[in-house]
């Protein structure tokens, strides 16, 4: 079944001002005012973290900043809550492995 409805169409959002971000090097489109998590969901990406113990994939769960499952590395900084941080043009989002500090180890 073809469906033309979308959340943006429903509320009449201005989609012409979309900009680009990257997720693990891949270019995605985001809308101004969208959180990083919302931009990733809109691109069909549901997981951007692996857990510390089991290495399992996780993404946004509670959607309101309470569960910390959506932690992402944004522009090199780990442990940002993707559901709260607004996406900005040129943001580089990378999958956070474990506690996110592996790259800082000496």
């Amino acid at each position: 079944m073809t469906r033309h409805r979308s959340p943006a169409a429903l509320v009449g959002a201005a989609t012409e001002s979309a900009f680009e971000i990257t997720f693990d090097g891949r270019t995605l489109s985001a809308l101004p005012g969208q959180s990083v998590a919302a931009a990733l969901w809109s691109a069909g990406v549901l997981a951007w973290r692996t857990t510390r113990v089991g290495g399992r994939p996780r993404g946004a769960f509670c959607g309101i900043g309470q569960c910390y499952d959506c932690l992402a590395t944004i522009n090199g900084r780990p442990n940002r809550r993707a559901c709260l941080v607004p996406a900005r043009p040129g943001d580089a989002i990378t999958t956070q492995e474990g506690e996110g500090h592996a790259g800082l180890a000496v």
């Binding site: 079944m1 469906r3 033309h4 409805r5 979308s6 959340p7 943006a8 169409a9 429903l10 509320v11 009449g12 959002a13 201005a14 001002s17 809308l31 101004p32 005012g33 969208q34 959180s35 998590a37 919302a38 931009a39 969901w41 809109s42 549901l46 997981a47 857990t51 510390r52 113990v53 089991g54 399992r56 994939p57 996780r58 993404g59 946004a60 769960f61 509670c62 959607g63 309101i64 900043g65 309470q66 569960c67 910390y68 499952d69 932690l71 940002r80 809550r81 559901c83 709260l84 941080v85 607004p86």
Partner: protein, 528 residues
């Protein structure tokens, strides 16, 4: 009559205030003082309102109207709380109301805020409250996710807790798979971020939120193959007086019922999602019928294909700031804890008020009524005009509150988690998502090491010790621990409310920036 489909598409003229960024919007328009950002600690407010949802907005604007100097702190960049979450102005949405019920009430409050002298402090995550002589010190970290450079301390004579609620989650096998999201979370991500977690989304759990979430997801273009509700709606019939007194709630239910029909969404009551399928993301769910205690009946299991699951088992008051300072709590009819408040919404600690979900989950309309009542009461206290409490407005608000509280109680009883939901939880399932603690480990702590409450389980297993501080697993761990208690040692005492000394994560740098008197170090206090 229920909403017609055309109502969703109806364009309304844009509110002129929407084009103004939130931090400028809150600046008084009447030429009253403006507070430069970062200088908030130099001002002593009459009332600090924590939370800018329905309760907080209503309390802030009425207190301002009654002459108080009011600060309104909220973690989000936009006012509205969770219920009225809406796209940031940059998204340019001309019909934000298409995803909302009762948007006009919010639009009215937002206009009143814009015309008031209330100082709206957006992006302020309050992490604790402390006594400061005769005043209260409200400590916050700033920024979208609270990682801003400078801590902030707002001092006020009185405080209104309007911190709302979080979602109650009960785990089930593979609930940690990407694509399983909170029902409220899916709603929030849609309302503010215009994003969906999938194209074919099952909505499950319990509570009045589920039909509303399903209707929103479907209106936004998702297919919803089923709404799966663990309770039966007939339970409401046990509270006929509360139903009869709240015709508006029934009309609301009819609206969502009609939306489910319109989108051809089947509603399956007394059923639950007992397992999720998929390797790295959701591919389907198993739905089982439940008995009256929520024990799954395996012979009734069937699979529904989907690429996402939005799940939640009602709401839980978010009260850690208040309990941290010693406010008394009561057990609600669905087993959560809420703040005890008096006839005018004051908590057991003088000078601290609470409104909305913090006093027991009851919805946005009730929150507005309680917020206004609390604002009137705080103003009466600060200005020494207790006569306001006997005015006709306060009386009318108290009557409406009583009526809506009765409905909230009926709702809590109808959707209270059944005793035997833990039967669908296998030992391999992670109960604590942060620390990856399985149900088996929690059961071992209970069975072999004698844990009888969530706190002891936490000390033994780390369940609840991670990033979210037990916000996601607390309800489940409490059930697993106390359930075992009743089986082995008769009636177990009710678990204590959870305590979280820090209501939001605070960096060591932010703590180090506080002087011993609690003010941020880089700012010298201004002489009064």
């Amino acid at each position: 009559m229920p909403d017609s489909p055309s109502e969703e598409a109806r364009a309304v003229p844009r509110d002129g205030a929407e084009t103004v960024p939130p931090h400028e919007r809150a600046v008084p328009r009447g030429g009253a003082e403006t507070v430069p950002p970062g200088d908030t600690h130099a001002v002593t407010y009459d009332l600090a309102v924590i939370g800018a949802g329905s309760a907080g907005l209503a309390g802030a604007v009425v207190a301002d109207r009654l002459g108080l100097r009011v600060a309104l702190l909220d973690s989000s960049g936009e006012v509205g709380g969770q219920f009225y979450r809406h796209p940031a102005p940059a998204l340019g949405a001309v019909r934000p109301e298409a995803l909302h019920h009762d948007w006009d009430a919010f639009a009215g409050l937002r206009r009143e805020l814009a015309d008031s002298g209330v100082v709206h402090l957006a992006g302020h995550h309050v992490w604790t409250l402390a006594r400061d002589g005769e005043l209260w010190a409200v400590h916050a970290v700033t920024g979208a996710d609270g990682d801003g450079e400078r801590p902030v301390c707002v001092r006020a004579r009185t405080v209104l807790f309007a911190t709302g609620a979080g979602e109650r989650q009960l785990p089930f096998p593979h609930w940690t798979l990407p694509g399983v999201v909170g029902a409220g979370g899916a709603q929030a991500m849609l309302k503010s971020g215009l994003a969906l977690p999938g194209r074919r989304i099952v909505v499950a759990g319990s509570g009045p939120l589920l039909p509303a979430v399903a209707a929103s997801l479907a209106a936004a273009g998702a297919r919803v193959p089923a709404v799966v509700e663990a309770s039966g709606y007939l339970r409401y019939a046990r509270s006929p007086a509360a139903l009869a007194a709240n015709p508006r709630k029934l009309a609301e239910a009819a609206t969502y019922g009609a939306a489910l029909l319109r989108h051809r969404i089947p509603l399956r009551t007394r059923s639950a999602v007992t397992e999720v399928h998929g390797r790295d993301r959701v591919e389907g769910v198993t739905v089982c019928r439940l008995d009256r205690d929520w024990r799954p009946l395996p012979a009734t299991a069937g699979r529904i294909d989907c690429d996402a699951l939005a799940v939640g088992h009602g709401l839980v008051p978010q009260i850690e700031l208040a309990t941290g300072i010693g406010c008394a709590t009561r057990r609600t009819d669905d087993g959560a804890y809420a703040l005890v408040v008096d006839a005018f919404q004051e908590t057991s600690v003088r000078g601290l008020w609470a409104a909305g979900e913090t006093g027991g989950v009851g919805g946005a309309q009730l929150a507005r009524v309680e917020g206004e009542l609390a604002g009137i009461a705080a103003a009466a206290r600060v200005r020494g005009q207790e006569t306001h409490l006997r005015g006709s407005r306060a009386r009318a608000l108290r009557r409406r509150r009583a009526r809506m509280r009765a409905f909230a109680t009926a709702m809590a009883r109808a959707h209270a988690p059944g005793r035997d939901w833990t039967e669908w939880l296998d030992d391999a399932t992670d109960v604590c998502r942060c620390e990856e603690v399985t149900a088996g480990a929690v059961r071992e702590a209970v069975r072999d090491y004698g844990a009888r409450d969530a706190r002891t389980v936490k000390l033994l297993t780390r369940a609840g010790m991670g990033w979210c501080q037990g916000r996601m697993c607390g309800a489940a761990v409490t059930c697993l621990a106390s359930r075992a208690g009743t089986e082995s040692a008769g009636e177990a005492p009710p678990p204590a409310p959870e305590r979280r000394p820090l209501a939001a994560p605070v960096s060591l740098a932010a703590l180090a920036a506080l002087r011993p008197d609690g003010l941020p170090a880089e700012d010298e206090p201004h002489p009064e």
